[in-house]
Symmetry: C2
Subunit: 132 residues, 2 copies
């Protein structure tokens, strides 16, 4: 007797879980890439305290707050962004992010953007394209 | 006596609040633009029930679930994405999103992407570049 077994394989794809990713690191101000669309990257970071003034002359930069509340200072003003909110810093606009307590954020921007912008040798400058 | 008043104006910039945006509409499967970086758009949508099979040949598409749980079927598998998770559907991959109950999602993709992909005249096809 010939038994024909047809096996249909359904792949279970895995989503990217933000909490699981945040649990994998504890350092501040060091954005880690978690995903890409085309040549744009999704990076997450824990931040606390004050960052430096810097600019990304070549690109807008999106900040989404996933946990906590952050502040971004501009030369002419300020924005407070809390969990469930986002803000886009336009290209060329000088800005200084900070967070009184630890916050968890996601950045969306083109591949290759340096976290400290034109200040490529600041103490805060972090290696690019680090994936977790 | 001369009194000199120096007035320093500090602008309070407003973040984009996802809940406030979702409160402004109730229709399903009609992505609304809430922000842009360069030529990429952030769109939010309420979804419920089953969408149609479609493809975006020209671009990857990021799904972030802000509330609820959604499912995306592929010809060879499936992914479940819940609040606090994201998934990127690669360019050219046929997919069919669905959500048993109402979910709130954010899409990130280049400006000009049609929600039903190559099916530009489906009942689900929605006007592009609608901002809220």
């Amino acid at each position: 007797m010939l038994i024909l077994v047809l096996k249909f394989t359904i792949m279970n794809y895995n989503p990217i879980n933000f909490s699981e990713k945040f649990n994998q690191f504890s350092d501040y101000w060091k954005p880690k890439v978690i995903s890409e669309i085309n040549n744009y990257q999704f990076k997450i970071a824990k931040i606390k305290g004050e960052f430096i003034w810097h600019t990304h002359p070549e690109t807008d930069e999106a900040f989404i707050v996933l946990n906590g509340e952050i502040k971004i200072e501009f030369r002419d003003g300020i924005v407070k962004i809390k969990q469930g909110e986002m803000f886009v810093v336009p290209a060329g606009v000088e800005h200084k992010p900070s967070s009184e307590n630890e916050s968890q954020i996601m950045l969306i921007e083109p591949r290759g953007v340096v976290n400290t912008g034109e200040n490529k040798s600041s103490n805060f400058t972090y290696e690019n394209d680090v994936w977790i």
